[in-house]
């Protein structure tokens, strides 16, 4: 949480020769961060971030206490001027009735008093300035006192109109179903069973303690008598109630971080003094103090060597004790290396381990004053990391390769909308968000193609769009976390064969060509069944390529149908090789011959060429030379013993075995 306090206010509790900007930068380095320092007339305002564990320093007094230690460490004169402990007593002749009940022990401490003859007025200018600079609207002096005390001492407090309560009774209890409270701000809240409320003994709810008061008991311009009240409810209940009702007051922020009971008492006494001073109020009842906490001194022991371990520094006992003493930690026992310190009440919740004491010493000593060393180098053999590193390296190279071919890399959200998920549905049910932020981010992707297709719509004015993404798809598995499979997906608004060419060149680059095979058709409905293929690597499923299903393209509003492909990147990376063995080349020139056949809608290139290679060992490779309508021309490279052509044998084989119609055969050299 942030607090904003004026320099003049701070200096009521801190005597120092440090200037505001010096104080701001030193506080940031060793204590709470001063995020802004801004002039206010002749004064300055500090905007300070206080971490949730240090609610003790979320006040003028708390900052003054910290600043005194820090400034002194940096050579400034600095002295903390604590608030004088005053014990207010009831001395008047007539006593106004006040009873407080907390039978369920909901509050660890309660402090209450009635004050009479209050004069409602505007607060003096300095009070109004201090509050308004802190972001709190100045109201009447009565309300201002409660806010002033909270900021100055660090504990929220509340003021009721005694006469509006009528019964002189405050009962802390849990709310019941169907109870309501209209809070100070005029909003009506239906209460929950675990909310803690105060009623006036008649069952009428008058307050949400620690969070916000009720309208029916609030002070006004005609208020004559008040109850000044502090309670300390369980911080979890405060947080829960404040969140559920959406009442995020500064008081709630303090209370949910559990300020200590001694600070509460300090705030209470300071509040009474201020009511006397600013509203001429008189104590009109005995002071009620219900304290369920037991004062006990918390002790923590630490070895001097622990400081050395964490700070890489030989620090003397004297230095450690002087820093800790300044912060309120007293040395209680000392034996050889072990030091035992008592923890001040306002730090009891925060300080639990020796590491906490190390932090106190190290920050005051100054992190800047500690050395800067690289961690010692270590290495151990780790096959898991070797594989992972190799995958990351291949990822890098493949991305560069695709980018140089004109593809733009996208990072899309891992989640897509229900409707997009429906268009790109797979057989398995996707993982869904239980608390989505937007209807666009609900289903975890089982294919990245959904996002790429969406991006194609977004960028549809772009000619020749080429996109890729490498990310996880999320595949549910029983009784374990989903499989997060690294996946590479591509989309191109150019034709299918160009995209297939991109994949082929990627496979060539990784020396995979001989292991890759295609089979016409895919299992996924988002591919056009007429022009799509499943890709295998070493007979393992690698992925799919095809044209986007036309009806999906239409539903998305895509004018042209893009080509898409998706690969299991883990498998690809596993086989992908940057280098391969360099074989001795045959001195003999290959026989190069061309054969043109007519595609019969049955025998695919993949099968035909596989069969040829299986049957004729002399065949080294087969390339697609040309295609015209359904006539495909293959160029066959072969090495035969006597340099004799085997084209007629191949021709015969294809005609007889596959009943292919062969159009022409010829010596490829003549082309």
């Amino acid at each position: 949480m942030n607090i904003r306090i004026l320099d003049s206010w701070l200096r009521e509790y801190l005597k120092t020769d440090a200037k505001p900007d010096e104080m701001a930068s030193l506080l940031s380095l060793s204590g709470p961060s001063v995020e802004k320092l801004e002039p206010f007339g002749k004064d300055y305002a500090y905007d300070i971030e206080v971490t949730t564990n240090r609610i003790d320093s979320a006040s003028v007094i708390g900052i003054a206490r910290e600043a005194a230690v820090i400034l002194k460490q940096h050579g400034y004169q600095a002295k903390f001027l604590p608030l004088k402990k005053i014990k207010h007593v009831f001395k008047a002749k007539t006593k106004l009735r006040l009873t407080v009940e907390d039978n369920s022990k909901l509050s660890r401490r309660i402090l209450a008093v009635v004050m009479d003859q209050v004069r409602v007025d505007r607060s003096p200018q300095y009070v109004r300035d201090r509050l308004e600079q802190a972001g709190i609207r100045s109201q009447s002096n009565l309300i201002d006192v409660t806010n002033y005390v909270m900021l100055e001492v660090g504990h929220p407090c509340h003021v009721f109109d005694y006469d509006k309560i009528k019964t002189g009774k405050l009962v802390l209890r849990q709310a019941q179903d169907k109870e309501n409270l209209v809070t100070l701000d005029g909003l009506n809240h239906a209460l929950y069973k675990d909310d803690v409320v105060i009623d006036d003994g008649t069952g009428r709810v008058i307050d949400l303690p620690g969070i916000m008061g009720g309208q029916n008991s609030m002070v006004a311009d005609d208020t004559k008598r008040i109850i000044f009240f502090i309670e300390m409810i369980n911080p979890f209940i405060i947080r829960k109630t404040s969140m559920k009702h959406g009442i995020r007051t500064l008081a709630a922020s303090y209370n949910e971080n559990e300020p200590d009971v001694q600070t509460a008492e300090l705030a209470f006494n300071r509040g009474i003094s201020l009511f006397v001073q600013l509203a001429k109020a008189k104590i009109a009842s005995p002071i009620i103090d219900i304290n369920r906490t037991v004062a006990k001194s918390k002790l923590i022991s630490i070895d001097l060597s622990d400081f050395a371990t964490y700070m890489n520094l030989d620090i003397s006992v004297a230095k450690v004790t002087s820093i800790l003493k300044a912060l309120g930690f007293n040395l209680k026992a000392k034996s050889k290396q072990t030091l035992t310190f008592s923890i001040p009440a306002y730090r009891e919740k925060d300080i639990n381990l020796k590491q906490d004491l190390i932090e106190e010493v190290a920050r005051i000593y100054g992190y800047n004053n500690l050395g800067t060393n690289l961690p010692p180098f270590v290495f151990h053999s780790d096959p898991y990391l070797r594989n992972l590193t190799e995958r990351f390296n291949k990822e890098k190279v493949i991305k560069e390769f695709l980018a140089s071919l004109g593809f733009f890399e996208l990072y899309n959200y891992s989640m897509i909308s229900e409707s997009l998920n429906q268009l790109f549905a797979t057989k398995t049910k996707p993982i869904r968000m239980l608390n989505p932020m937007s209807q666009d981010l609900v289903c975890f992707r089982q294919t990245l193609l959904a996002s790429l297709a969406r991006a194609a719509v977004i960028n549809s004015q772009q000619p020749r769009l080429k996109l890729f993404e490498l990310a996880h798809v999320y595949l549910p598995r029983p009784k374990q976390l989903p499989l997060e499979r690294p996946t590479l997906s591509l989309l191109s608004s150019n034709d299918y064969f160009e995209l297939k060419g991109v994949l082929d060149s990627l496979f060539q680059m990784g020396h995979l060509t001989k292991l890759i095979s295609y089979q016409s058709g895919t299992k996924q409905a988002y591919f056009d069944p007429k022009l799509s293929a499943t890709i295998y690597l070493d007979n393992l499923y690698l992925g799919e390529i095809g044209v986007l299903n036309k009806s999906i393209a239409f539903k998305l509003g895509l004018k042209s149908v893009p080509a898409i492909a998706e690969l299991d990147f883990g498998l690809l990376a596993k086989y992908f090789q940057f280098l391969t063995s360099i074989k001795a080349q045959s001195n003999q020139a290959p026989i190069v011959e061309d054969l043109t056949y007519q595609f019969d809608n049955k025998n695919h290139w993949q099968q035909i060429t596989t069969l040829i290679k299986r049957k004729f060992k002399a065949v080294e490779k087969i390339e697609l030379l040309d295609r015209y309508q359904q006539f495909y021309t293959m160029r066959i490279y072969s090495y035969t013993k006597d340099n004799k052509s085997i084209l007629s044998l191949i021709n015969q084989f294809l005609t007889k075995q596959l009943s292919l119609k062969i159009k022409t055969v010829k010596d490829g050299k003549n082309k």
Partner: protein, 337 residues
């Protein structure tokens, strides 16, 4: 004859024509070789010698003529195009800024012996919270604004959540290393319920984790200082400010001097608008909390460690200005223009 050949060569207009003439006169089966063949039939050695010399002289003349004509043709053909015209357009794509930044981070830490790992994005709450000293009732968990998913809960590790930070990998890595020294960089997608100009519900973090005997605060400073200088530049300074995190003790926030005004708070156009008093927040760090080491089955009496978690987008935005973070994941190509 030679004169006639030379004239023919001098009339040639192109290199192709000259190539044909070269074959015709000087080739294997060309005019001069034929003439030399004929010499075989001459029996008088003196006549043979003279004839031979004569043929050779003529051949040299022809070669000279051919070469000078080649030069003449080349001179004629010299380009008259403007060499400053734009080149033929070749369309290239681009690598996403996040990939580039992740690669840079990985390499910077590899130099000092840190290896990159990858841990689940959909994670059990045990690893995202409980093991990091945040038991189920702890209010610090609320601050993470985390997402939950409909995956099957584990009886040991609790519900499935979207990992709100890369710290979820800390205890997993401690388990994997089984007591061996850890030098981890974990880079992953993270998810939180924030969506504005500087926040997206999905973002990336990189997490450093170093565990060994005698690891101390100076090693954390050293590693982060190394990163800051390698990534931002050698004029950048870092500072540690006390902070509070559940999973580290002591805890810090790390700042670097502002990369825009170099910490001076002044730019050419006036007061620096990017930084707070000359410093920019890099992210959180600290010494690993003993309870986290315990969850990682590491003896906190023997071993200490540090950890930090910084945003990939954050460091990218600190180094290169980016007016709207949401652009990075919008699917729009305008980030590449």
């Amino acid at each position: 004859m030679a004169n006639q050949i030379i004239r023919e060569i001098q009339q040639a207009k192109s290199l192709d024509d000259l190539e044909v003439l070269k074959t015709k006169f000087l080739g294997k089966k060309g005019y001069f070789n034929q003439q030399l063949q004929k010499l075989k039939s001459v029996s008088d050695p003196i006549q043979k010698k003279n004839l031979g010399l004569n043929i050779n002289n003529q051949k040299q003349e022809v070669i000279r003529a051919l070469n000078s004509q080649i030069q003449a043709v080349l001179r004629q053909k010299e380009p008259v195009t403007d060499p400053t015209l734009p080149g033929t357009k070749i369309s290239i794509g681009a690598i996403h800024p996040i990939t580039r930044t992740i690669n840079e981070i990985t390499e910077i830490f590899a130099k000092i012996g840190f290896y990159r790992v990858s841990y689940p994005e959909i994670e059990y709450e045990y690893f995202s919270f409980d093991s990091l000293n945040m038991p189920p009732s702890h209010p610090a968990r609320d601050e993470f604004e985390s997402f939950t998913v409909d995956g099957e809960a584990s009886s040991t590790f609790g519900k499935m959540v979207l990992s709100p930070h890369t710290s979820s990998g800390q205890v997993r890595e401690m388990w994997r290393m089984k007591g061996k020294p850890v030098r981890m960089i974990n880079i992953a997608r993270c998810f939180r319920r924030n969506w504005d100009v500087t926040h997206t519900p999905m973002f990336h973090q990189f997490e450093g984790l170093c565990i060994d005997r005698n690891i101390n605060i100076t090693h954390l400073k050293g590693a982060i200082n190394h990163f800051a200088k390698e990534y931002f530049g050698y004029d950048v300074q870092i500072r540690l400010r006390p902070y509070h995190f559940q999973f580290t003790e002591p805890s810090f926030e790390i700042d670097t001097t502002c990369t825009i005004c170099q910490g001076t708070q002044k730019t050419k156009s006036g007061k620096c608008r990017v930084c707070k008093s000359g410093w920019l927040e890099l992210g959180g760090a600290g010494m690993v909390h003993p309870n986290v080491l315990k969850a990682g089955k590491i003896n906190s009496q023997k071993y200490t460690g540090w950890a930090f978690g910084f945003g990939v987008e954050r460091v990218y935005m600190m180094k290169h200005q980016l007016f709207d973070l949401r652009k990075l994941f919008s699917g729009q190509l305008d980030i590449y223009q």
